[in-house]
Symmetry: C2
Subunit: 148 residues, 2 copies
C-alpha cells in the first residue's frame, strides 16, 4: 500500500508536470518519489519557514504544477480540461481560479504560499484528488456552462 499514492491519476499527472520541466534530462534516472520530495513539508519543517517572504521561483513553479495537475486529472475524469489562473501578491497570499468553459470549477484563496507543501505523499494525493472531485461536482451541477 505504501506506493499507492503514486498510482493515483492526480499524482501521475503531477509527476508528468514535474518531469516536463526537466529540459536537460538530469532527472531521468530519478524515481517519482524523489521528484515529488520538494512537495512534502512536515509540520516541523513548516514551523521553521517564514510566513511572509518573497516566494522563490521554484516554489511558485511547484504551486503551478500542482494546480496544472488538478486541471489535467479533471480532464481525465470528465473530458474537460481545467485551466488554472493564479494571482499571488509578493507576500504569498493570493487566489487560484480554475475554469472549464464559462464555469468556475474551483475558487481558492491561498495563504502562506511560502509554506506550500503536504505532510506526506498520501496527504498530497488526497488533497489533489479532493480538488478534482470538487471541480467535477461543479461540472455535474452546471454541465452546459462547463461546455460554453
Amino acid at each position: 500500500m505504501s506506493d499507492a499514492p503514486l498510482e493515483t491519476p492526480f499524482v501521475r499527472h503531477l509527476v508528468r508536470q514535474v518531469r516536463a520541466q526537466d529540459s536537460y534530462g538530469v532527472w531521468e534516472g530519478k524515481p517519482d518519489e524523489e521528484l515529488l520530495a520538494p512537495f512534502i513539508v512536515t509540520r516541523a519543517q513548516r514551523r521553521e519557514m517564514p510566513i511572509i517572504a518573497d516566494p522563490d521561483p521554484d516554489l511558485l513553479a511547484r504551486v503551478e504544477q500542482f494546480y496544472a495537475a488538478v486541471g489535467l486529472a479533471l480532464e481525465e475524469a470528465t473530458g474537460l480540461l481545467g485551466a488554472p489562473l493564479m494571482s499571488l501578491n509578493h507576500e504569498g497570499f493570493g487566489r487560484v481560479l480554475m475554469t472549464t468553459g464559462r464555469l468556475v470549477v474551483l475558487n481558492l484563496y491561498l495563504r502562506d504560499i511560502n509554506r506550500f507543501g503536504f505532510e506526506s505523499l498520501s496527504v498530497l494525493a488526497d488533497k489533489g484528488a479532493g480538488l478534482v472531485d470538487e471541480a467535477r461536482a461543479m461540472i455535474e451541477r452546471f454541465p452546459e456552462v462547463a461546455r460554453a
Copy 2:
C-alpha cells in the same frame, strides 16, 4: 457632447477607483479628465513605447483600476459585482478573468500591457461599457450560475 464620456457609469466608477488611491489628498482639486490622462495613449505615443519591458507599478495599477471599474459598473447594471483576477507575466502578457458567483463573465487575453491605454476618453468609455455589456449578456444567459 465633449464631456459626455465622463458621465457614463463606467467612467464614473473608474474616476472613483483612481481617486480612492489618493491617500494624501493631492489630487483633490484636479478635474476628472486630468486624473484619467494617463489612460489616454495616442497612436503616436504607442509607437514609442516598448512592447516588452517589466510593466511599472503605476501602469499595473491603471490596468487593475480599469477592470475593477468594469466590475463595479457591472454591479450597478445587474446587482452582481464582477470580481477581476489578473495574471501577468513579467513581459506584459497575461489574462484577466472576471467572475460573478460561479460564472466567468469575461475571459480576456492581454497583450502589450506596456502599451495599455486608449486613443481618447470616448474610446476608453466605449471599451469599458462594451465589456460591461458583454459581462451582462453572459449573466443573462446563465443567471443561476452567476448567483451560485
